[in-house]
Structure formats: structure tokens, C-alpha cells
Subunit: 332 residues, 2 copies
């Protein structure tokens, strides 16, 4: 029923091998033969079966992408960066959501292996030992995007979260804020605790300020969590005058919390965020934010993965992208 390479070969009076050569752009085909084959392909509307090709060649030209949640703008940006570069290199993407659940991540890796993907881009806030072990035994290259592994052995693409957090807090310090809160996501992830929190702590210390645990709140990274966090923090004696938010949603929640309490941002309360998604410009005041270049992290991760898949030489298996602060109006 479906027409195969064999049909083309027969119609063109050549062997399957020759058809295969022209389909794959192998130069060892006489131009006349090539034309003849191409004509038949067109006439018969032949479409190569990539599954058969995958079985024979052991390459599927598809890569697996495992991320926490595609409906989160944060990860969606990342995914777009990955997809764009994948397309550029003619790979397709199998996309899966892990919801950050380790069991799902483990199972998803298994599924990807079974599907014979040529490589995997993985993102998660925390990479467990089990996961690391499984990745170690992976039959295909894996690169971590915006994800830290404690072993330090995996290829990865990140920014310097510590320095970025340090710089962000420092920006608040410049305006003479003495009571700076940190509203973060889960503090049990490496990025949040070992890097961002440490950057916050260190910036404070360098300014001669002491860490006040009452000012750091661990929460979901949602708008509502930010809103609630503001209420809580603003009700303590000697409330904060500035906030360092773990991401944009949190920052917007904080700002609305402040405004609903009759406070002016940035005159009464200053807020700096850490993400700079397109949400950052969709609030009043617009968010001053440390930029986390998610799209780029995705794109560079995918580019790095292509190098591994093509067995090219890798200059740096751990790439650190630059960061900066985007100045807008939530900080004076």
C-alpha cells in the first residue's frame, strides 16, 4: 500500500542502494541516474520511512527534552530555544513534562532511551543521585539546561547564579536599603540555596549587614505566593524596605501586595526580580530584573548537544552564559 524504496528502485530500474544514495545525498551517483530516480520519487510521491531508517542506521534524528512544565512561561522559553536550534540542525523534539517529580524523571529517561533518541536535554531544579547514576549509564549524550549537577561531570549550560544574585542584592544595597528580604522558591535546590541564597547572604555581609532569617521566605514560585509573602513580611516589626524575588511571578505578587497595602513601588518598597521574562514589562511599575536568559540557555544547550551527537570536539562542556541587570522602574 505505502510506497517504499523498493518500489522506487523497480520503477527507476536501479537498485535500492542507489535510491538510498540519492535520498541521502550521497555524491557517488551519476547525475543522469540521480535525475531518473528523483523523477520517480516525485511521480510516486515516495516518502522515506524514518523509522526503518532509524532501525538500520541507529540514528533517529530526534532528541528528548525533559522539562518540569511547559505551561510555565519560564520553561516554555527554554523549550523554544531548544526547538529552534534543533530545527536548525534537523532534529525533532520529543517533549515531556516531569513536574519535577524524580520518579517521573527517571521513567521519562527510560522512555527516551527506549525510543532511541540521539540525545537528551534535561532540566530540573534538583538532580538526584539516582538520576545522575542513570545518566551516567546513558547510551546517548545528555546536557543539562539551567540545571546544576553536584558531580560536575555532566555537560551543562547555566549562568553564574551566585554572582547574579549578588549583583541583584547589591543593586538594592546601593539605594541604602538595610532590610532586604529574599523571597525564594524551594531552598532545597542547589541553585536556590548554594548559589542564589549564598549570593544574597554574601552581598549583605559585604555591606556589613547581618543576615536576618526572618527576612528570607521559602515558597512556591507563584504570583499568589509572592502576594502572600509580602503580607507576611510587611507585618513584622522593622519590615523590609526592599525585596529580592526569585522570579517574575513572585515579584509581581510582591508588588501588588505592596500596592494593595497602599505602598508605592519603588518609593516605599523596592523590588528586584530574577528572570526577566516578558511578564517583566507587563506590570506597573515595570520590573527591574536580573536577567536569566532562558531562551539562550535552551539554544546553547541544544547546540552543545549537537556537538556531542556528531562527536565534534567540545571546547567547554560546562558553559556559563553572561548575566546582567535590566533596569526598569521597580527599583529607584
Amino acid at each position: 500500500m505505502t510506497i517504499t524504496i523498493y518500489d522506487v528502485a523497480r520503477e527507476a530500474n536501479v537498485s535500492m542502494a542507489t535510491v538510498s544514495r540519492v535520498v541521502n545525498g550521497n555524491p557517488n551517483v551519476k547525475p543522469a541516474t540521480r535525475k531518473k530516480v528523483l523523477d520517480v520519487i516525485k511521480r510516486l510521491q515516495y516518502r522515506p520511512n524514518q523509522v526503518a531508517r532509524g532501525l538500520a542506521s541507529k540514528k533517529t534524528t530526534t532528541v528528548g527534552v525533559i522539562i518540569p512544565d511547559i505551561s510555565n512561561i519560564f520553561y516554555a522559553e527554554l523549550a523554544r530555544g531548544i526547538e529552534d536550534i534543533a530545527t536548525m540542525y534537523r532534529y525533532n523534539i520529543i517533549l515531556s513534562n516531569s513536574d519535577q517529580r524524580e520518579d517521573k524523571e527517571l521513567q521519562l529517561l527510560e522512555t527516551m532511551f527506549g525510543k532511541q533518541v540521539d540525545g537528551i536535554v534535561f532540566m530540573s531544579e534538583h538532580v538526584s543521585v539516582d538520576l545522575l547514576n542513570m545518566m551516567d549509564r546513558s547510551p546517548v549524550p545528555i546536557v543539562l539546561a539551567g540545571t546544576i549537577d553536584s558531580s560536575g561531570n555532566m555537560p551543562s549550560v547555566n549562568i553564574d547564579y551566585y554572582q547574579a544574585a549578588y549583583d541583584a542584592v547589591n543593586r538594592l544595597l546601593q539605594n541604602n536599603n538595610k532590610r532586604i528580604a529574599y523571597v525564594s522558591g524551594s531552598l532545597s535546590t542547589t541553585i536556590n540555596r548554594a548559589f542564589k541564597f549564598t549570593g544574597y547572604e554574601r552581598a549583605l555581609a559585604d555591606a556589613g549587614l547581618q543576615l536576618d532569617n526572618e527576612l528570607v521566605v521559602e515558597s512556591e514560585t507563584t504570583y499568589d505566593a509572592g502576594y502572600t509573602a509580602f503580607k507576611t513580611l510587611n507585618s513584622i516589626p522593622n519590615a523590609p524596605t526592599a525585596y529580592f524575588a526569585g522570579n517574575d511571578e513572585l515579584a509581581i505578587g510582591l508588588i501588588h501586595g505592596a500596592q494593595d497595602a497602599g505602598l508605592h513601588v519603588p518609593n516605599d518598597i523596592e523590588v528586584i526580580s530574577f528572570e526577566n521574562s516578558k511578564l517583566a514589562r507587563m506590570v506597573r511599575p515595570e520590573l527591574t530584573s536580573s536577567v536569566l536568559p532562558l531562551y539562550d540557555i535552551g539554544a546553547v544547550s541544544m547546540r552543545l548537544l549537537t556537538k556531542y551527537m556528531k562527536k565534534e570536539k567540545i571546547e567547554e562542556k560546562t558553559v556559563i552564559l553572561p548575566h546582567r541587570i535590566e533596569e526598569r522602574n521597580s527599583v529607584k
Copy 2:
């Protein structure tokens, strides 16, 4: 090197067929044999090769998803709905962005066919005749998600856009607004022109109001476009007192445009949106919005697709999901 079904068969002293049976849960295997095989599988860490399975069975358990842009929260919600149901039915998703470009959509379909997906979920604001023809010749079922085809032959999942728009505009009419603007995305798409615009027009007519073309602006569906549209519309003589926005980003742009002009929403200007993404609660005032249940549309589309793929009986190939208005504070 990699271990195959043949290795398992040899180690377990059974035939490949038997191993295949236990792997596929075929009941015609003696429990003792099953256990023996399972043990070997575990010991050898055998992992079935889905590509080989796909070639032999002509089923890949993967479906293609073609959407405009995953980094847009609008489509990301849809994608999540699709993915969740796909996972539930043990399918994987190959995700691709078309950027609404017809050439890319055509080519993506080709790619999906080549990859032998078992089915496709397709979303686009406009389905061209060429696309329709190609879908007609598709070797696998295709369902349109949040997408109208003029032929009416394709399976699809939508809401009643006409009625939803009518209801939204009517909500504005209830507050005695006489000058109601419509800020829409491209008016060359079926949904925007034939349904939403017509709903707007009709609601006006039913209220005895005449359509003023000056009040309908066609633009990108972005925050900036909304912001700009407000400026433009507010500067005409007899400016609008209410706005019907094509989506949430547009609505937020409109609101900020109004606020930056010193106007109060909803006292001076009322705005109703058409989407109700999570952005809707992240502005002040929060958006009153006609809800477009993207997640559900995705989920139901995928569910419908599974029925086609499994050749189950289809009750309704064209499903219309209910819509409603979520009341918040951008409308009095």
C-alpha cells in the same frame, strides 16, 4: 553490544516470540515461563527498542503536535493539555512550532508523516486549502485544536467563538457603554473575523448600536500592541468607553495604556478580555474575561485523537466546549 530480545530468549531458553509476548503483556504465557523471562530481562537490563517495534508493528506510540509558538503562554497551555492526556494513554509527543507560517506547517506535516507518528494534533489560526488537501491525504488521523477548518470535515475541538464574543460584548453593553472598541488579532483568520468579529457586530446591532469601523483595530496580539491601540483609540473624537480585547496580553496593554493616560479602570474605561490565562489575575484591576479553556481544548483534542487511533466509535467529531465569563474587576 546493546542487548536484544534475542539475547533474552537465549538466556531464558525460550523463543523470541515468547519474550515478545511477555514484554507485551500477552496472556498466553505460562506464569512460570513469564517469571523466568522477566527475571532474565531484569538481570540483563533488557530495554525494548521502540524503533524496531515501530517498524514491525507499524505503530510508534508517538503523536505529532504542531502549534504556532510554544513560548506563547496561550499555546503552552494547550500543549500541556495535549501532553497530559497523551501521557495518560502512553503516547509521546513530537512538538514543533510553526510560527503560523504555512510553508512550515506543510513541511512539518511531511516530517511527521515521515516519522510515522500515529496521529497529529494541529493548531493554527488559519488552515489554508493546501493544508487541508494535505490533511485529506494524511495516512494518520489529525485533529484540529482550537482551530476552524472551513471545509468542516476535520475532527476538531473548539468553543463557540461567536457566542462567546457576543456574550463578552453584551457584558459591556449591560453597563450602558455605547462606544465599544474591539482590539483584535489579525482579522484575516476565520475565528477572528467570521466568529468573534461577527459576535461583536451582532451584539452591537441587537443593542441598536451601529458598527463604527474606527473602533475596530486589527493588530498583533501582544502587550505592546494593546498599549498602542489604546493610545490610538483614545485620541479619536468620541473615544470608546469600553474595550473588547482579543486576548489577555492585549487587554493588559489596553489597561496600562489607560492608566498611563490617567484614566481609571473600570470607572473611566472598561475592558473585557478573551482568554483568561493566568495573566488575568496578574494585573490591577484583575481582568474580567471570557474564558477560552486552552488546556481543556488540548486535552479533549488528544482524547479524541486517541479514539481515532484506536479506531473506537466517535460520537461527535466536532466538539464544542462550553464557555463562560469570569467576572473580575476590569468591568464594572
